[in-house]
Symmetry: C2
Subunit: 217 residues, 2 copies
């Protein structure tokens, strides 16, 4: 989830004009501001996030921050956009269950680390339409990258062909978000493996096979 | 999710002193205020919820609302407490898959109806510790009531004995919350049945059997 300042965003966000000089001052300012937003979120949460606080911490003129990001929703959206510009790849452990467990371990870690920037960003996306849109884009990008994980399992013969990757990935990861973000239960160290094993079992039995809607077939 | 004013809350909430005269003026005021909070949430969302707006709509003195509920978080918490005082029971269709599908249909309906009070309450629980606690209590209560659904399936021989009801229920319902609340994808009319069938399949294969941690057994 590190920011790659050398990769200009592929889709310009309404609040973030295209980076004109990659690697130049515009890009440097964006990196400083995004780092500052993450640090402020970690310290004060979304409630304590202000344009002034971000500008001061980033060492950037307030006028620049207002002009380029407009408001706190714009800042959050750009942090989420930046997170999607990294070169993250899904785990490759050699087995479907191992891959899904490793993925769930990453998710559980990101949601339970204190402070959790991931959770602060999710909370923020309930407050700003722009942030919600960026959060959605980031998630869709992650699910798309994870399709490779499912394809490898099909190639290894662990899964039936035509397995719906998105359905399987949501089934495997959703219980973690549900428990940690919505139910707010204490982290269960067994849950990542448990949820992964359950989804892998259902998938192997054909639960996510698009071409054969009857799970018995 | 209807409010039952005749059932005094079993656990008194810090912000809501015990109802002194069930059916009396105290209880009547609570009903009026809770109805007003739900109506205000439906019209203006959490962002537009104010103590003044609730008092005016409920026809109750502002001082009374402040004294009894303290702040907006206290109001939300009491709405959630009241929701848990109903006599809701899980669906009983005669099959595990049917029950889980009917449960998911209820959840999908509550999250996609416009305005969705359920979603507004969830958003509010990201803003107030007190609301978050009440949301958690309500969910735990719902999962506890749903244990009957799983017990019936075990009795019918659809599930192995010692199936972990909570794990199965979370696996069945989490994809709906994930898609509708977190990913904010458009409602998929097939998702309730699809998620229910997946969880039922995994459960029948022993994925939630506590006594036999190896899902192959």
């Amino acid at each position: 989830m590190t920011h790659s300042p050398d990769h200009p965003p592929e889709r310009a966000h309404p609040a973030a004009p295209p980076v004109r000089r990659p690697g130049g001052r515009t890009s440097r300012i964006r990196t400083q501001v995004i780092d500052a937003v993450r640090a402020e979120l970690g310290e004060h949460g979304y409630e304590g996030l202000t344009m002034e606080g971000v500008a001061a911490r980033a060492g950037v003129h307030r006028a620049t921050v207002y002009r380029r990001w407009q408001d706190v929703g714009g800042l959050i959206a750009d942090v989420l956009d930046a997170a999607g510009e990294d070169d993250w790849q899904p785990p490759d452990t050699g087995s479907l269950r191992g891959d899904l467990t490793a993925l769930n371990d990453e998710i559980q870690e990101s949601l339970t680390v204190q402070p959790s920037i991931a959770e602060a960003l999710m909370a923020a996306s309930f407050r700003s339409e722009q942030a919600a849109h960026a959060q959605q884009q980031l998630w869709e990008d992650r699910y798309a990258r994870c399709e490779a994980l499912v394809e490898r399992a099909v190639e290894r013969g662990e899964l039936p062909p035509h397995t719906d990757a998105r359905g399987l990935l949501i089934a495997s990861t959703a219980p973690l978000y549900h428990q940690l973000v919505l139910l707010r239960t204490a982290p269960d160290p067994q849950l990542p493996g448990y949820a992964a094993a359950t989804a892998a079992l259902a998938a192997a039995a054909g639960a996510f096979t698009r071409i054969a809607p009857d799970p018995e077939s």
